[in-house]
C-alpha cells in the first residue's frame, strides 16, 4: 500500500470557478453549484485509486490492442507455467 496521504479535499464553488477559468472554460454563476457538486462526486469516486500501490506499473496501452492481446497471452503462459 502507498504511504497514508490525506484524502483530496472537495473544491468549493469559488475554487471550481478558478480552476475552470484556468482550463479556459469560464463558468457562469448559475452553473457553479451543479458543476462543482458533480466534479466533487467524480473526484470522490476516482480517489479510490490512490489506495493502489502502482510501483513501476505503466499506464495501459490504450490505443494499441496488440500489446493488450500480448499481455493476455503472456499472462496465460505464466499462469499455465505455474500450474
Amino acid at each position: 500500500m502507498p504511504p497514508e496521504a490525506p484524502a483530496p479535499e472537495d473544491l468549493t464553488p469559488q475554487e471550481a470557478a478558478q480552476w475552470a477559468r484556468r482550463a479556459g472554460l469560464p463558468l457562469a454563476d448559475e452553473r457553479l453549484a451543479a458543476v462543482t457538486a458533480t466534479a466533487n462526486h467524480i473526484q470522490a469516486v476516482v480517489a479510490t485509486l490512490r489506495e493502489l500501490d502502482f510501483g513501476d506499473v505503466p499506464p495501459a496501452p490504450a490505443y494499441a490492442v496488440e500489446p493488450l492481446a500480448r499481455a493476455y497471452t503472456d499472462e496465460l503462459e505464466v499462469s499455465r507455467a505455474t500450474v
Binding site: 476516482v46 485509486l49 493502489l52 492481446a69 493476455y72
Partner: protein
Amino acid sequence: MRPYELTLADAAAAIRAKELSPVELTESVLARAEAVESHLHAFVGVRAAEARRAAAEAQDEMAAGRHRGPLHGVPLGLKDLIDVKGQPTTASSSVRSDHIAAEDSTVAARLADAGAVLLGKTHTHEFAYGLTTPQTRNAWDEGRVAGGSSGGSAVAVAAGAATFAIGTDTGGSIRVPAALNGVVGLKPTYGLVPRYGVTSLSWSLDHVGPVTRTVEDAALVLAALTGHDPRDPASIAAPREAYPPHGEGDLTGLRVGVPRNYYFDRVAPDVESAVRDAIDRLRDLGARLVDVDIPMTRYVQAVQWGLMVPEATAYHEGTLRATPELYAPDVRVLLGAGELLLAGDYLRAQRARTLMRRAWARMLAEVDVVVAPSTPLTAAPVGQQSVQWADGSVEGVCDSYVRLSAPANITGVPALTVPVGQGADGLPVGMQLIGRPLGEGTVLRAGRAYEATRADAGRLAPDGGVLGAAASAPTPGLPAPVSAEPAPLSGEPAPTPAVEARN
C-alpha cells in the same frame, strides 16, 4: 409469419431461397417502423425512399446472379454516432444540427459492401453520454426506459422496426439496452471492429458492435464488420474471421466461470434467478461450472470514470466552449466537471487498468467464459433515478446499469448479452457471456448453444409495448424505486442527477 418478424438468419435464408425479396422485406420492416415509431421513437429519422432504392438495387443484383452474403437486402438501423456519407450524424444532439458526414465510417462502408439496406439512424443518449436514451421508450413497456446509450438500436430491433442494428458500447451501451429490450448485443474485443467515422465518447473504452434478435444473427453481422483499418489506431491487424452461425449445441469441455463476487451482488432476486437458471442450462449442455473470483472490483467504477470523464471532455473541448448551450443539461454538466479532473487521476486510472487487465488475464486462464447478469435490474420506470438494494444501499439507476458492464470495457474483453427470460415484472433479463480477448468465437458458441434451448429465442417484444403502464408499477419483492430525485448517500449531500448519467 410477416417478413418483419423474421430474424436476420431466417430472412437471409428466405431471400437466398427466393421465397422473399429484399423489397418485400424492406417494405414490411418500413411499415412496421411506421406503425411503432410514433410511440417508441427509436429513430432519429427513417429514410424510406433511400431504403427502398437500396432494396431494389439488392434485388436487381440478385436477379443478375450476384449474391453478397447473408446481409444482402436486409434492413438495418445505425446508431446516430456512425457516419454515413452525405447524411447528418446528429449524436442525438443539437450540437450537431448542421453536421453532414463527408465520408462513410468503416462500419457503414462494410455494411454497404455487404449489401445491407440502411433504414435510418437510431437514437442515442446525447453523444452516448448516458444510459437511458430519453427520446426513446422501451419496446416492451413504454413506461420504462429504453436503456442506453444505443437505446434506439435495441428498441428498433426488439420491435421489428429493423432486422438488425449497430450500436456502440463504452460502459455497456450495447449490452444494457439490448438486455432491457430482450435482444442480443455483442461488445467485441477492443479494436476488433474499426471505429473510424464513429463519434467517440471515450477513445480508450469505445467499441462498435451488433444488436440483433439472436446470437446466430450477431455472428453474421460481426463477420461483416471485422478486419483491420489503419484509420483507427486501435484496430487489430488480424485477418477477418467467419463466426460459424450454427454452433455446436454440445458444450462439453467448456469451462464456464461463475463469479463468487461482484456480478451477483446487489442484483434483483428475479434477475439472479433467471441468470442462474440459464447457467444451469449451460451445465446441462456439458459445460463445466467453475467458481471464479472477480479481481479488483473495488476499483471498477473509479477506473471507468477516471478514463471516460476526461476523455469525453477532451473530445468536446472545442464545442463545449463554442456552443455550450446546445448540449442537454446533464451532458453539459458532466463535460464541464471533466475539465476539473487532474491529469494524475487519469494516469492513475490507466495504471489501474494495467493491473486490472493482468488480474483478469490470470482469471481467464482458468475458464473459457465468465457468465453474469447483464444488468442488476430490468428496465426502470421512466424518471426513476435511484434504487434501494436489499442491503440498504442506494444506487443511481444508471450507475447500476453500468456496474456489470464496465469491467469488459476496461479490460477490452468481448461480452455478449443474451435474453434469458423475464423478471417478475414481465420485462426482459439478459445474461452476459464474457470471454478472452479475441474469444468471440467461444462466446458466440456458448450463447448460440444456450439460445437453441429456448423456444422463445429471437422473439419480438410484445406488440406495441402492451405491458403498458400496469407493468410500470413497482413489483413486490423487487428493489424499491427510491424517488424521482437522487437520494442522499450515507448522509452526504445528494449527488446531482448528472453524476448518475453514465455510459
